[in-house]
Symmetry: C2
Subunit: 266 residues, 2 copies
Amino acid sequence: MTETGEITGRTRVLGILADPIAHVKAPPGINRIARRRGRDAVMVPFQIAPESLAQFADALRTLKSFDGAIITVPHKGPMTALCDEVTPRARAVGAVNVIRRDADGRLHGDSLDGVGFVAGLAANGIAIAGRRVYLAGAGGAANAIAFALAAGGVAQLTLANRTRAKAEDLRTRILADHPDIPVTVGSDDPSGHDIIINGTSLGMRPEDAPPLDFARLEPSMIVAEVIMVPEITPLLASAQEKGCRIHLGRPMLDQQIELMADYFGL
Amino acid sequence: MTETGEITGRTRVLGILADPIAHVKAPPGINRIARRRGRDAVMVPFQIAPESLAQFADALRTLKSFDGAIITVPHKGPMTALCDEVTPRARAVGAVNVIRRDADGRLHGDSLDGVGFVAGLAANGIAIAGRRVYLAGAGGAANAIAFALAAGGVAQLTLANRTRAKAEDLRTRILADHPDIPVTVGSDDPSGHDIIINGTSLGMRPEDAPPLDFARLEPSMIVAEVIMVPEITPLLASAQEKGCRIHLGRPMLDQQIELMADYFGL
């Protein structure tokens, strides 16, 4: 939209693809950035069922006023295969969370989850290069973060997941892209690491099992979350009790919104 | 959008389909009405080439956050055939200028050009029932207006067009729907009518031929335009010189915006 908030025939359209969609939080943030940067663009919700995604992606190729979209649940994986081109990190993770349309109607996809998380750490003064990092999880978020950690030059990356085979698989894929990074599959014990990251959804609900053994946390560790609600998960509460520095889930989203705006050319 | 102008995951999406699209004027008006009526909906531009229209219409069927769209040049005719259902007046005119999507994904189309014009007259205190009306033109706008005039119970409808066969064809189609209205094909002479309407685009450019014989205008006539730019066409200037009451092109758009908002359920 224009600086006065008005949408005209010249306004460029951005979308967010999700199903359900009422809960998505990104449009106000993206639209605020567009206004702040003086860009005549607006993000609106595109609710599309999984079975309609391929057809809708083809329609977006033909929509000349469309510049790009955020891709979220349940479309991140399937959209990857529908793009004409994806970044190596998105291909490695098997998911895109942003797409953009070029003037020829080709769709390009990227995954900003991992770099968003690392940018959130950096914005909080936490560098990952040369650090020994423990990551719980091997799902979508953990995959994206693991590749971003490897790309960011960690000294050691330990992957821990309840289903060990998924961690082994993730390790293999990371080593294919980053053969020089020491990647191991670990247990629920985070001992011997500088930065501890929960990349699972465990901790969102009160009855969740712990994502790792809280008893092995040490005061020297930085403990980070991907979960945004609750703000202080049981993991972060335990870490605070131990005297650890903590890092909330929210900065990952805040940093990603800026990265997404950059990606869309705002 | 919400009352604060924010677009969220709950915001309903409306579109305007056109190609080119930079010049379209409707989105700010529709969005102002949505805000005024307290509706969380926003209209954005959908620029689609003619060859992509059918595919895009199918995609709109699957877009669960989409409620409807304005259809304008060059899509009014082709979209008519792509709707699952159209109103009798849209079928008669062979054009839709609005569509809406129902919960099952079916597309319904209507043509509000004609009723918008008649509502514009009414808003200006000009009733058509029982009046003898002369209409220049047999194109898209004139078709829509002619059917609305017939539906509005004019006492006489005279159709005049440079290509007489098109006026004959329009007359035949009107009589099929409104057998009781006296419809004739006339010349460029508007004598003997109460309301004179230019339904052609003649008068937009200085070099245009006159849409009818200005010399036959009489002070008792009301003279109306569909052209908005210039505001005072050569026809309206001549009518003013003769002492006729004139009716500008703009009210047709203003009234249609309200009718469109009603149609979209705003």
